[in-house]
């Protein structure tokens, strides 16, 4: 998909809460030996998807150097909304000073809700309906105790402000693509606390099929080959999947390494691939072409091609994702349960 007028990212931000739970601590608890990631991020007692979104949004506004009241859309993609009914987007928009002349909504498409929000923002800006539009992918991801997801379900997010391409653009969009089928690999019904999943079904017919479909679709549409990208970001539910899918599609580990934050952060669900893109923008140089693909269960993938511009170098100062990843405090399993509200006073 291509826009009528050129669109780019004018500001971005990513955030990870301070606390970490190591895989060894989960293994100690359950007598297991898994380690799909080294450790995962855990929220503080007073953090949730909204506070994470606000942290990301504030950074994005700072880097964009714009008047936040000009932001005409704030969309939060998440599967851990603090309220079942009441938008997260309104709180974020209010907190950053974007209200009241603004459109907001919460997006749900499992782990690709954030990139679905990006597609919408790109459409709004590309059509000229909005000057600035903000898309956020953030989660305080749920994983049932002792479930395979408990190793990885983590907290964090990233925000992107889109605007018409100009000298202020840090990376402009070349094209995007969406690939969706009805594939029920992972779901959480209303009022249930934890998602359920189809075990190995989550891999081959879900993650791999859709990421591969979206990647091939966008490469075909643009005529690019994997070697024409400096970097690539694939949705990262664990360290193994993105490496496997990258290799199978002809991308190298060197291309995905800068954006591969899952090992230290865990799977931030809707925040996952947006955070990978943020980590990549933190190291990319003007002219670098970046490939990005999300994956959301249910299932679908959004693929994007961004190319960095000169403004990236100038704008990306200040706190960055690596700083948030390095700033950490490990907690034990009981503290983790308390922070996640799984035991209450």
């Amino acid at each position: 998909m291509k826009t009528l007028r050129q669109v780019g990212i004018v500001g971005y931000g990513a955030y990870v809460p301070m606390y970490r739970l190591n895989a060894a601590e989960i293994n100690r608890m359950w007598g297991t030996s898994g380690a799909p990631v080294e450790e995962k991020s855990v929220v503080a007692l007073d953090e949730d998807t909204v506070t994470i979104s606000v942290e990301c949004a504030k950074q994005a506004v700072r880097r964009a150097r714009i008047d936040p009241s000009l932001i005409g859309a704030v969309y939060v993609g998440t599967e851990s909304k603090p309220y079942a009914v009441k938008p997260s987007g309104t709180i974020v928009a209010e907190a950053i000073g974007a209200t009241p002349s603004v459109s907001t909504a919460d997006y749900e498409f499992a782990c690709k809700a954030g990139t679905e929000a990006m597609q919408t923002c790109i459409g709004l800006v590309g059509s000229g309906m909005q000057r600035y539009a903000m898309a956020i992918g953030a989660d305080t991801a749920q994983g049932r105790p002792a479930d395979a997801l408990e190793y990885t379900a983590a907290c964090g997010g990233a925000a992107y402000i889109f605007a018409e391409r100009s000298a202020e653009t840090v990376a402009y969009l070349e094209a995007s693509y969406s690939y969706v089928t009805d594939t029920p690999d992972f779901w959480r019904r209303a009022k249930e606390m934890y998602p359920r999943h189809g075990n190995r079904f989550t891999g081959e017919p879900a993650y791999f099929k859709h990421i591969t479909g979206a990647t091939k679709g966008l490469l075909k549409e643009t005529g690019y080959g994997p070697e024409e990208f400096k970097y690539a970001v694939f949705h990262q539910p664990n360290t193994k999947f993105p490496i496997t899918v990258a290799r199978s599609l002809g991308f190298s580990v060197d291309q995905i390494n800068p954006g591969l934050v899952v090992g230290k952060v865990g799977n931030t669900y809707a925040g996952s691939s947006p955070m990978g893109l943020a980590a990549t923008l933190d190291v990319a140089e003007p002219g670098d072409r970046i490939f990005m693909v999300s994956y959301g269960s249910g299932s679908g993938s959004d693929a994007f091609i961004f190319t960095a511009q000169d403004a990236l170098r100038d704008k990306r100062g200040g706190p960055n994702l690596k700083g948030f990843i390095d700033r950490k405090r490990n907690v034990d399993y009981a503290t983790y349960l308390r922070h996640r509200g799984q035991i209450i006073q």
């Binding site: 297991t32 030996s33 189809g198 075990n199 190995r200 079904f201 081959e204 017919p205």
Partner: protein
């Protein structure tokens, strides 16, 4: 009784067929077998399936598969005997030809385990045990096997010696196109894997897979592979009331009868495909078949005796652990593999000069077993 021959063999790779139906797997293997046999004159069909009524909510498999083959009208029946379904279905098909009732029988097995979550697969396995006495306790098939495994370790062997059953299976599976896990696995990897049911490690258990295998049986002529022994036997269902739980009496009885029919002794067997759903069950099967002395099967799998050029090549395509264990189809994979060996069509897995081969499968904790012995014609 008439002599019976295997005229056609069809296998599909054991794997997870997320986008396929149970009947399409059966049909693919069946059509391959019919093509291999060069006939479409099938007059009856036997379908082995263990858990379709639970995993797919599907019964009446006989009509379903004849329909999916485009052959409605044929007599067809599902054979269910737990994980021995394939071996027992083959036995029934042999009887149909031997009796003169049928001239050309298609016998196939199919199972599709990937349709259910692992918890349901575990439930499906233990449905082979007596619900009122054993299964209701919540024990799993791994748990029951673990009791035997524990007793065996107390009496005869070290954990790693039993674990070699899985290591050998994986060794033999390398390069096998229809195997689910065709890679080598070290004994350390097996022993370092998590406990499934102490003392059984995860890598000593067969996995979850989908598959289908089929064969065409006809009256024996003067070439090909002949079925020279085929027997089924049962045992009391509960391990607790068996005289010696380490003796798989049903395997021993079925083997005794099959050996007698074939006019062979265990020493005459050139290769064996045995039921190693858990390593210990493979070990105990080797002993009950008389291929190893009581308490001595680990000595057999420790060296190269079970390799393709060893004394008694065993699980030459990987066995249940590495080729895969799609429940009701498994017994037919085993017999088909023996047939391929005797045809000299086993490729890199070929046992040199193989003339007589045996396939053994069991349901429940060997409360039912089938032993089928095949011989290359003219030997």
């Amino acid at each position: 009784m008439r002599r019976v021959a295997v005229a056609g063999v069809g296998l599909i790779p054991v794997k997870e067929y997320w986008d396929r139906s149970l009947q399409s797997l059966f049909a693919e293997a069946a059509l391959k077998a019919l093509k291999d046999a060069g006939t479409d004159k099938v007059d009856s069909v036997y379908v082995a399936n263990m858990s379709g009524s639970f995993m797919q909510d599907q019964i009446n498999m006989g009509a379903l598969v004849t329909d999916s083959l485009g052959r409605p009208g044929l007599p067809a029946v599902r054979v269910e005997a737990g994980a021995a379904s394939g071996g027992v279905a083959f036995h029934e098909a042999v009887k149909a030809v031997a009796s003169g009732y049928s001239e050309c029988v298609l016998v196939g097995g199919a199972e599709k385990m990937s349709d259910v979550l692992p918890e349901a697969a575990t439930t499906a396995l233990v449905m082979s045990e007596e619900q009122e006495y054993t299964a209701y306790t919540g024990v799993t098939q791994a748990g029951l096997s673990a009791m035997l495994h524990r007793l065996y370790l107390d009496l005869y062997a070290e954990p790693a010696q039993v674990g070699m059953m899985a290591v050998k299976g994986h060794d033999h599976s390398v390069g096998c196109k229809h195997a689910q896990y065709p890679f080598r696995m070290s004994i350390d990897r097996a022993m370092d894997s998590p406990m499934e049911a102490d003392p059984i490690h995860m890598m000593e258990c067969s996995g979850v897979g989908d598959g289908a295998a089929a064969m065409v049986l006809v009256p024996a002529a003067d070439s090909g592979v002949e079925v020279v022994g085929s027997a089924v036997a049962t045992d009391c269902c509960s391990l607790a009331i068996r005289r010696d739980p380490l003796i798989f009496e049903s395997v021993r009885r079925a083997a005794e009868k099959a050996y007698s029919m074939a006019g062979v002794k265990p020493d005459d067997i050139d290769l064996a495909e045995v039921h190693d759903d858990f390593t210990i069950n493979g070990i105990l099967s080797l002993e009950a078949l008389g291929l190893a002395g009581w308490g001595e099967a680990t000595k057999l799998v420790a060296g190269n005796a079970t390799d393709k050029d060893g004394k008694i090549p065993t699980n030459t395509f990987g066995g249940l652990k590495a080729r895969g264990h799609p429940l009701g189809a498994t017994g037919l994979y085993q017999v088909a593999e023996v047939a391929l060996q005797l045809r000299g069509a086993a490729g890199d897995h070929q046992v040199p000069g193989a003339e007589v081969g045996l396939a053994q499968s069991m349901g429940g904790m060997a409360s039912v077993s089938a032993v089928n012995i095949l011989r290359r014609f003219g030997v």
